[in-house]
């Protein structure tokens, strides 16, 4: 009986049922790999890939809901910063190629939300930088 329980526990944990949600760092790594895989592709492929990235972000948020229903953990806050930073890029991922003005607005929004009230020479956060790189390939 004890051995059966042990085997079941191992199986369930390897299945990811109790896997911890992805960290912000892990997400950023995956987003970067996705971007690099389509950086030389056409607009439709880039949009398709970015929508997959967005789905992954939403799944991660759902995972956090299960482990942190009050949404107060520092780890979740970092993930939310990634989600918010990527939003302007995700918003550009539509069927039509964005205009120059739409691209400039998106870049400004990323910068404003990242360092709107910080000293002028504050570097952009990693998530803001990643979002700007996506906007660059969407708008090329």
């Amino acid at each position: 009986m004890r051995n059966t329980t042990l085997v079941l526990a191992i199986l369930l944990s390897s299945h990811g049922a109790y896997a911890a949600p992805k960290t912000a760092e892990k997400l950023l790594e995956e987003i970067k790999v996705s971007r690099e895989s389509v950086s030389k592709s056409d607009f439709e492929k880039i949009v398709h890939e970015l929508k997959k990235v967005n789905s992954s972000l939403n799944e991660t948020l759902n995972d956090y809901k299960k482990t942190d229903p009050k949404s107060e953990s520092p780890a979740l806050e970092k993930v939310l910063y990634v989600v918010f930073s990527m939003e302007p890029a995700v918003d550009l991922a539509t069927s039509k190629k964005p205009t120059k003005l739409a691209c400039d607005k998106a870049k400004h929004k990323v910068e404003l939300e990242d360092k709107g009230s910080k000293p002028e020479d504050t570097p952009l956060s990693p998530e803001a930088q990643e979002s700007l790189r996506w906007i660059e390939i969407l708008c090329k």
């Binding site: 939310l80 870049k107 939300e113 709107g116 009230s117 000293p119």
Partner: protein, 424 residues
């Protein structure tokens, strides 16, 4: 003969002494009366906002005179009239001329013609003078700049640092300068407060500027010292490039705020309107060669107030309220929650922090509990309260670094700046 000579010498000495005394400023912030570079640049300024201040100051002096005459004549004609009735009559007379007629505290609180036809809910509260005066005693750090007039352009844009804002180079702030800052800030609050919209239900009308939030921000950032500039921010509101871009360029979402000022017929927008018109054509840039565009006593202060308060409105109405409505509509109607989140969004923690705090809310969130939770989670909200405490200590001549200040009992309303505003 010797006695006459002695008497006339004494008389001349006294005349000379009183003349000298008249030239020595009284520094309400405890600075040395020798540090008068900022005062001199304030006195020399002739920009529109400053001229408007001088005009209102003159009118107020005239009203005070005629109110005093009214009081006197009432006493002569009807000695049975109570002091209360006489005071009411004097205020009524001032109101007819649409001029300020308040107490010392709100001596220059602008009561404009453009208040007429609006309900109390549609009028902004205004900031009290004594709170501004106490705030200006704070040392917020960094360097300060004076701006002198360029003879070619006539603009006050030759910038020069007077040194650190605190310590030996702390500049003398006079009563007149406090009055001017109060006038300018309250005028900006009135100018920028959105106008009521026609055919829109009362509960969907745009809210006026929350003066408590503006007081807390300026107290926290600069202690209302409009001359501060560094790479962390310029002027009274510590503006940054992204914030200016948000309002003054087509990539931002807040251009409509500047456009409203540029088109406004409000009296309170005199001093701001022409700056908005100019900036919409030619976006101002922040760099260490043009600080005066944001810190001079006239146009610089006006621009800074317009953008500072405009940015607050854009954060509140363009980001916080819409985001809250999607997540927790009941919280979007709660003024305290909206004000706290707006403060976070333009503080050092920024918009992402405010959005992360909103993410915690849902349709079942209780406003009181939620507010307590975000106040605990935001370092900026804690810092704001700390600076409010400092202000109250300075107001009561208690050294902010002492235990007396740390242990001073202050209510939530005091720390929330409720007692630093005058309701309409």
């Amino acid at each position: 003969m010797n006695q006459v000579f002695l008497l006339s010498s004494i008389f001349s000495f006294l005349l000379g002494a009183s003349a000298l005394a008249a030239d020595v400023p009284v520094c309400v912030n405890g600075a040395s009366e020798k540090n008068i570079k900022l005062m001199e640049s304030f006195q020399a300024n002739k920009d529109t906002l400053k001229v408007a201040y001088l005009a209102e100051k003159k009118q107020f002096a005239e009203v005070s005179k005629s109110a005093a005459a009214c009081v006197e004549s009432n006493l002569d004609i009807n000695p049975l009239k109570s002091a209360q009735d006489i005071k009411k009559a004097a205020k009524k007379q001032a109101a007819k001329k649409q001029l300020p007629a308040g107490d010392d505290d709100d001596a220059f609180a602008t009561k404009e013609f453009d208040d007429q036809g609006k309900s109390k809910n549609q009028l902004p509260a205004l900031i009290r003078r004594d709170c501004i005066a106490a705030s200006m005693k704070r040392n917020p750090g960094q360097k300060g700049y004076t701006c002198s007039t360029d003879k070619k352009t006539g603009d006050q844009d030759i910038e020069k640092t007077y040194g650190q804002v605190g310590g030996k180079t702390q500049q003398c702030i006079t009563d007149d300068m406090v009055n001017y800052v109060q006038f300018a800030v309250n005028r900006a609050i009135k100018c920028l407060s959105p106008e009521p919209k026609k055919d829109v239900p009362a509960d969907e009308q745009p809210l006026p500027v929350d003066a408590r939030v503006i007081y807390q921000k300026f107290n926290n950032e600069t202690g209302f010292n409009y001359s501060i500039a560094w790479n962390g921010g310029v002027g009274i509101g510590q503006l940054t490039t992204p914030a200016v871009k948000e309002l003054a360029s087509d990539v931002g979402q807040g251009q409509h705020i500047l456009e409203a000022v540029a088109k406004s017929n409000k009296m309170s927008c005199v001093g701001f309107k022409e700056i908005a018109e100019s900036d919409l054509k030619n976006r101002p840039r922040i760099n260490d060669g043009n600080y005066c565009d944001f810190v001079s006593s006239g146009d610089g202060l006006a621009r800074n107030l317009m953008y500072g308060i405009g940015y607050y409105l854009q954060m509140r109405d363009g980001i916080i309220v819409p985001t809250l409505k999607k997540r927790a509509p009941q919280l979007a109607k709660n003024r305290e929650v909206v004000s706290a989140l707006t403060a976070v969004s333009y503080g050092a923690e920024g918009i992402k922090k405010a959005k992360a705090l909103i993410y915690r809310a849902d349709a079942s969130s209780n406003p009181k509990t939620y507010l307590a939770s975000i106040q605990k989670s935001s370092a900026y909200l804690t810092a704001i309260k700390g600076k409010m405490r400092e202000m109250y200590c300075l107001k009561d001549n208690v050294d902010p670094s002492t235990d007396d200040c740390k242990n001073k009992k202050l209510t939530d309303k005091q720390l929330g700046a409720d007692q630093c505003v005058i309701q309409p």
